[in-house]
């Protein structure tokens, strides 16, 4: 399908595709097996300029938006979404700075992120604050020119690998949701350490772990936005980043479809390639339908966000749910079409199936997304 990409967007897509096929693909199985963070690959990506694809040119980026970000995430995910999310995790940590950082904060952090010299992360989830993200237990108490942070974050993408962390903490418990704030915390700050690295089902090249704050003193100028705006920062960040997860899902679905098609063309049973069998053809057709529909949705939402569209929350949630469900279904069917071969680690589709599951879970489970969609529907007026 023609999505009318500009020549610049086509170039971004081509470079990301070459990176994925030439550099990521040969390493994917080993990164998955060893659960190894792809630092070297991110250095290779940095030299293509794509680390700064969504960062304004004045801060050293390419000046693209979420649409260009999604193109990169999709192309890498088509080969290995664990690697893609190691890149996108920096995006999630950086979007709050892009949206709410003041000039000094932007100048300090964005150029290094754009150049791929610094990796970012976003610290929201806690043991008792998952889907119920307002139930934050980490605290930040003001002490002169500092905030003193105490608490533990868990399941944080890029934990320990990242240099810059956007961290959510309670600054005023009495104010409830309006007593939560966001801070930029740099790796190496005294009192800031890392918990255990998780052993995951999928996206195993991506590092997931805990952030531990023990009387961690963060300078006042690292407060992002104003005190009490934390949950607004979180909400707006996720509205922007959700198409990134959806793009990851589209990439997984396309990658699984690529593999299933190639296999079905070459695998001969009953004297013919299995692609000649209608049972297989219909599965492939359904996979193509879901993948393309998901892509169309994700691209539309990303463009809406980049054009400054208001009220993108519902559309972003719709895209995230649809694309992640498609990724799960398509990757499962790819394994089915490939049968025993698909189940073996010699082929990448079993990994894609494991990788797909997380897209239905993180950055808001698909159940939470449906809550968001429903709450927006309830707010809408009757059309006629």
């Amino acid at each position: 399908m023609n999505y009318f990409l500009t020549p610049e967007q086509e170039l971004i897509q081509q470079i990301a595709r070459r990176f994925a096929r030439e550099r990521v693909a040969p390493l994917s199985a080993a990164l998955d097996e060893k659960s190894e963070f792809p630092r070297r690959l991110l250095e290779v990506l940095a030299k293509t300029d794509l680390c700064g694809v969504y960062i304004p040119e004045e801060y050293g980026g390419l000046g693209g938006g979420m649409f260009e970000f999604c193109l990169v995430v999709e192309e890498i995910s088509r080969v290995d979404s664990g690697v893609a999310i190691s890149f996108a995790g920096t995006g999630l940590g950086t979007i709050p700075i892009l949206l709410y950082g003041n000039e000094e904060q932007k100048k300090k952090y964005l150029p290094d992120v754009a150049a791929g010299k610094k990796i970012g992360a976003f610290g929201l989830t806690e043991a008792n604050a998952g889907s119920d993200s307002f139930a934050q237990e980490t605290t930040a108490v003001k002490d002169g020119d500092y905030y003193v942070i105490n608490g533990t974050k868990q399941w944080i993408t890029n934990a320990g690998e990242a240099d810059v962390y956007t961290v959510v903490a309670v600054t005023n418990r009495a104010k409830g949701a309006r007593g939560i704030s966001t801070f930029i915390v740099e790796k190496g700050t005294p009192g800031f350490s890392f918990g255990k690295k998780e052993n995951k089902m999928g996206i195993r090249a991506s590092t997931t772990g805990g952030l531990v704050f023990n009387n961690c003193r963060v300078p006042r100028e690292n407060l992002l936005a104003k005190e009490g705006m934390g949950m607004i920062v979180v909400g707006r960040t996720f509205d922007q980043s959700r198409p990134g997860v959806a793009a990851q899902a589209v990439g997984i679905a396309q990658g699984a479809l690529d593999q299933a098609l190639k296999f079905a063309r070459h695998r001969v049973q009953f004297g013919q390639p299995v692609i000649r069998m209608q049972a297989v053809q219909h599965m492939l057709a359904d996979m193509a339908i879901q993948t393309e529909a998901a892509r169309a949705l994700v691209y539309s939402v990303a463009r809406d966000i980049d054009s400054g569209g208001k009220g993108v929350a519902k559309a972003a949630s719709i895209a995230k749910v649809f694309a992640s469900d498609a990724a799960m279904k398509v990757s499962t069917d790819a394994v089915q079409i490939m049968g025993g071969a698909g189940y073996m680690k010699d082929y990448p589709v079993e990994r894609m199936m494991r990788d797909a599951k997380i897209t239905q879970i993180y950055e808001g489970t698909n159940q939470i997304q449906r809550n968001i969609i429903a709450s927006e529907l309830i707010k809408e007026r009757d059309e006629w």
């Binding site: 170039l11 290779v44 293509t48 390419l62």
Partner: protein, 267 residues
């Protein structure tokens, strides 16, 4: 540090087939690429520039379509590309090619010249060292690591059969490099945009002050009298098992071929 990297556009030999009638490569429909070892040369040039400043110029001699290889070099981030293109260069062997390249490199000016160890189509490994001879600078071949660079000298490792050799040469110098030296980068976004519009400097024979006797057909003493596929003479055989079993199998084979005589006990 002003660096010149020499590249050759070659057919992608992983895609190429051989015409069994004429014993020549079937080049039609085969994609052209930058000779892979030359990508290592470009990469090392860019890495040295990142460390010491200066510029990286990529040069190639060939027909007009070599421009696409030079544009690819631009997309990797080199500063300038030069194409040597003239009917007078047609039919050059390695000697004439190196003479022509050397004249152009002298014109560009250099502290260091980088070449791939050999081209994957001709596999001669001659052009690099010949350029150094024409320019009267030292050349170091099969470089797998650049260890030290000072204003006046360069210290490198040569990858040889059975080991490494650490050597130092005065600058300016020419290196031919192996793939172990580095991992070539991918095209960058900004450089790719520039590569679309950047002019490719093209030089012919006229401006290079070349002796017509040294270039093209006239400057090429190489004559191909016949090309053929070597006859398969001997066949290797691998012996398996423990060293004792392998030795016994070897002796048995030598005996049955009547190369050695006598029984096991006697020997």
């Amino acid at each position: 540090m002003n660096i010149v990297a020499c590249i050759k556009q070659v057919p992608d030999t992983s895609e190429v087939k051989i015409d069994r009638e004429t014993n020549t490569l079937i080049r039609e429909g085969v994609p052209s690429i930058i000779n892979p070892f030359d990508l290592n040369a470009i990469e090392e040039g860019l890495l040295l520039k990142e460390r010491f400043g200066g510029s990286v110029t990529v040069i190639s001699m060939g027909p007009p379509q070599v421009e696409s290889a030079l544009r690819e070099a631009l997309s990797l981030g080199v500063d300038r590309v030069v194409l040597l293109c003239d009917r007078a260069f047609a039919g050059s062997d390695t000697l004439a090619t190196s003479c022509t390249l050397a004249a152009a490199i002298r014109e560009i000016g250099f502290d260091l010249i980088l070449c791939g160890k050999q081209a994957i189509d001709g596999d001669t490994a001659q052009v690099g060292p010949e350029i150094a001879e024409w320019l009267d600078v030292p050349h170091l071949t099969y470089i797998s690591a650049v260890e030290e660079v000072s204003d006046r000298s360069i210290t490198v490792s040569r990858l040889l059969e059975g080991g490494y050799e650490r050597v130092r040469a005065s600058l300016p110098a020419l290196l031919t490099v192996v793939k172990e030296l580095n991992e070539p980068r991918l095209p960058g976004y900004r450089a790719s945009l520039r590569a679309k519009t950047e002019p490719v400097t093209t030089w012919g024979a006229a401006g290079l002050n070349l002796d017509p006797a040294n270039i093209g057909m006239k400057g090429s003493p190489t004559k191909v009298t016949r090309s053929f596929v070597p006859e398969l003479g001997r066949q290797g055989q691998f012996l398996a098992g423990s060293p004792e079993e392998q030795a016994a199998a070897l002796i048995a084979a030598l005996r049955s071929a009547r190369i050695v005589h006598g029984s096991a006990k006697e020997s």
